[in-house]
Symmetry: C2
Subunit: 588 residues, 2 copies
């Protein structure tokens, strides 16, 4: 049975196409979409009606052509003046919910434990202090302070926006967050495979492999009936094969030498031996991650740092009336027994405070809700579910380089790298090295010097910050000898973060596994509010896109719709859980 | 025998490492490259010495590791005050030669037939008048005027800079021409194959094809000894195969539907049938051009238009002392018989003028040198050579759209395109549709609505501008129905150019063919000056990169070195000619 899906979020509750939407034309709440003559008109429904009836009508109206994005949130009034919402955590989902619910007339207060908004959306800048939980005491300790130059920055959390993450793109556009292309891959990037002590350029590995595979297929098909002229021609162009269907190298892999005037027909770089490519295991070093949908071009990044997104969300949420209270650490959440409502206790400046509300939206990482917060009045099923979800370990290291040596020496006589953005992949613990997709050709730059997962994140995270930086330097120097030079890439301008040790985060993303039946049950449970319609979990943790801001926004929209009563509170059936590995690390 | 190559252009003529280079530290003439301890030191040579001896020394010093780029021009004084150079044509090569030779102390005058610099480097803006040669009379006629909105622009000639075109990148950096990424391909781009009446998204065509080919190879290898576990694993990741080595579709091809909260495991778009892909002939529509080296990421474009490059070159050439005379149409070039020198006659404001110089560098398209200009004192071999070179036909159409519909409707409820840059390919006459790689998410945009070659350029160029625009609209509407709406994409804001009919250009690039023996002879001949050391041909037309600005600059540097005497005037051996098709249109 196909899963029921709400499609008509653009529908007004009151009167389709009739309600005065003048209050809704500001940023975030949209004007009604104009119908296009060549496309099916949006479904309209009778005015009023219970949420469930509307929901059913909406589902029924979504014809087979109405696939894809359900559109931005698109609510009419009624404005819910005076109905109070407590939002726990000012991450992307919390801020999104605060913004949307405030626009709808709810009285929103966000309690944020840290001294900044954004959660894992964090951009390191000069003077930023980094904290991690002490291995022994479990208490937060100051590990180091970012010492980048003025105006230098590096994203420690999310760093890129896929072109199909339309919620993020829409908020950026509406809130005037300038976007620039994030280059995921350039053929000048490098790969350091697991079973070969060499650093190879992307263009040679990618195109020689492609050529050999095409030639091998041409060879094996040569004697068969299925080898039509068309298929032969496809393989020739696909793999840059010669007229005999052999792969003898291609300029796709670059030139042997840069062309010169007197030898104007370029010689291809000699092909890497196929056996060496296969033995190297290069593809196990995530070489093909850029082929996966989430990382396909065109990707974007906010100019000036990813935190521009959360800064804008917080600004707009406040403008819409939300209050954001920083350094307010939630300790207790109690669902009322006498009627719908919630009481939240929190520490603020050493004092115990209390807040009450009709609704509560929790953007707190689920494992922390389980471990660190006293819950009262929650169902056993919910308490069980939050005990099941785990967060993934992941680390990053950030460098400031005083010279953009990876871009190459335009003034020099030697071969130069020509790396403008993208990622080099390595079997070393650091896993990957990101080059800046901004301020090309300028003097200095910041690089992501490690971004790893699983055991490698565990290993790196167990080291002291200094030792992490030392290990990351070793891994980077295998790709670029310049990393061995501390005057070019200084130690004191490096930063590092082990997200699984960061206070109030304790992980990179919810680590959902398809194979786990209890994950399926937990995911379904967490979509349903507690206390009837009072308490909601939000965040990328409870979305199809763990680790992605789009998932956080999608979840915040979902919860907003549940509170409005236009999305059911119970989930009819859940057929799957997210695939956290594929969604955060690619297909391997 | 390997071709001799000069490698040491960074070497001073006078005293290696000794000469006072304070005069050379300005833009364009570089400081000596610092030796890196981990790389071979640059060759040094004894001071003084004849050019040929130096050249030989330089060659001898270039060890096997010193491959690749020979570095930027890197001359010492002697400054040649008073030695006059006439440069014919203010295209990229002419301007580059004017700049470099002026810096070296030559007295340079550039005679340019048109009322603007840049040649084929042309960016259309509001008010720009376009001229083409009348089919009957052969006279230039005003075809139309660009009516873009203020601040809108479109490159009619070169539109992108590969990351390995370091001469262009270096001039841009040195002359403060801001560069931004040019997106050559996004997986949201479309393809309209020759044998299928459908428009398909890049991500599905690319990844389904890749998956099927990998699965086919896995199947045919399954029974053989060569099918190791490693190769099986490579094919799995390469093609996104399932555990059985089958291709059943992949999210690399996108999702069936955008993921929703209640169904968090995305379903891949159903794979296109392999037979349909093969029958469609999609690869014949240049689908794989972005895989070729010249178009690999990261590409760049100047922010604000490609003519920023020639504007900067002209400004810097003037600052270095060059005079640029516009609307000076060369009619006669006479090599002196009494001593080394040249006399050039030209029309300026209806008057016949004359200029004399010690050297002459011609950036005039070779076919025009042959057809339109009276030559006196040139060798038979030269006159024969210029009669052999042909220029390629190529057309462009440019659109201004009043809405960036290809980027998609972030406010809407329907599926949206999400095309941010890149190129859609079609078997229609227009061949390709370029989306803007700048000002994403803004209100309006300009697109290259046709860029074609050969017969298709001939066909399009034979039409009137209005009819070209009509045909281009038809081709674009097959990709995007919005093109049929003249209120969205107005006729009166379209521009069109048939480069082979543009006065003083008459083509897109020199159409060198590997297969033609006479092309080999002509190419070699044109590298050698006439009148002893007096007259030089320059331009991308006589470089390994026809149609590319890098080739123009490379040629200008070559000629500059010939004039300086540090590059031989005769070419010892020419083993090849450029491959104009591969270098301008990709491998097909």
């Amino acid at each position: 049975m196909p899963l029921l899906r709400p499609r008509g979020l653009h529908l007004p509750i009151e009167q389709a196409g009739q309600a005065d939407r003048s209050a809704n034309t500001r940023t975030g709440i949209e004007k009604m979409t104009k119908n296009k003559t060549d496309r099916p008109a949006p479904v309209t429904t009778p005015q009023g009606g219970a949420a469930n009836a509307l929901y059913q009508a909406m589902i029924g109206g979504a014809g087979p052509e109405a696939t894809g994005w359900a559109g931005p949130l698109h609510f009419p009034v009624p404005r819910r003046r005076g109905e109070k919402v407590l939002i726990l955590g000012a991450g992307v989902a919390g801020l999104t919910a605060a913004y949307e619910l405030s626009l709808l007339g709810f009285d929103c207060t966000v309690l944020e434990a840290q001294n900044r908004v954004g959660g894992r959306n964090r951009t390191a800048r000069k003077g930023d202090k980094l904290y991690e939980l002490d291995d022994v005491t479990g208490e937060p300790v100051h590990t180091h302070t970012c010492r980048f130059d003025d105006n230098m920055y590096l994203n420690l959390g999310p760093g890129r926006i896929p072109y199909h993450h339309r919620r993020v793109l829409k908020y950026c556009r509406d809130f005037k967050v300038a976007l620039e292309p994030y280059v995921m891959e350039t053929t000048a990037n490098l790969v350091r495979p697991p079973h070969l002590e060499k650093t190879l350029p992307n263009r040679r590995v990618a195109n020689d492999t492609r050529g050999y595979l095409a030639a091998k297929l041409a060879e094996t098909l040569a004697e068969t009936d299925s080898f039509t002229g068309e298929l032969r021609d496809l393989l020739r162009v696909f793999g840059a094969l010669d007229v005999n269907g052999k792969y003898k190298g291609s300029t796709r892999s670059g030139y042997l030498d840069d062309p010169v005037i007197e030898e104007p027909f370029p010689t291809p770089a000699p092909p890497l031996p196929f056996e060496e490519l296969v033995e190297s295991g290069f593809w196990k070093a995530r070489f093909y991650q850029p082929v996966d949908y989430l990382w396909q071009a065109t990707m974007f990044q906010p100019a000036g740092g990813m935190d521009k997104v959360v800064d804008a969300l917080a600004r707009e949420a406040r403008l819409a009336g939300a209050e954001i209270v920083l350094q307010a650490e939630v300790t207790d959440i109690r669902l009322e027994t006498k009627g719908p409502g919630v009481t939240v206790q929190y520490l603020k400046g050493g004092k115990e405070c209390e807040a009450r509300a009709r609704y509560c939206v929790s953007n707190i990482p689920v494992p922390l809700l389980d471990d660190d917060i006293e819950l009262d009045g929650f169902s056993d099923a919910f308490e069980k579910a939050i005990g099941i979800v785990e967060f993934a370990k992941t680390c990053k290291v950030g460098w400031q380089a005083n010279r953009r040596f990876w871009e190459g020496d335009l003034d020099g006589i030697h071969d130069t790298e020509g790396i403008y953005g993208g990622i080099s992949w390595t079997a070393h613990n650091i896993t990957q090295l990101w080059y800046p997709s901004n301020d090309y050709f300028s003097a200095k730059g910041t690089l992501t010097g490690a971004y790893n997962f699983g055991d490698q994140a565990d290993e790196l995270g167990n080291l002291s910050p200094d030792d992490r930086i030392e290990l990351a330097r070793e891994g980077a120097a295998q790709l670029h000898p310049e990393f061995a030079d501390r005057s070019v890439v200084p130690d004191d301008k490096a930063v590092t973060i082990a997200w699984h040790k960061v206070p109030y985060q304790e992980g990179g993303w919810a680590d959902w596994k398809q194979s786990r039946k209890d994950h399926k049950e937990a995911y379904r449970q967490l979509l349903q509010p507690e206390g009837g319609d009072v308490f909601y979990v939000t965040g990328d943790q409870i979305s199809p896109l763990p680790g992605w801001q789009e998932g956080a926004m999608m979840s915040a929209h979902y919860v907003t719709q549940q509170i409005l009563g236009i999305m059911p509170l119970s989930v009819p059936e859940v057929v799957s859980v997210p695939d956290s590995v594929a969604l955060t690390q690619g297909l391997f």
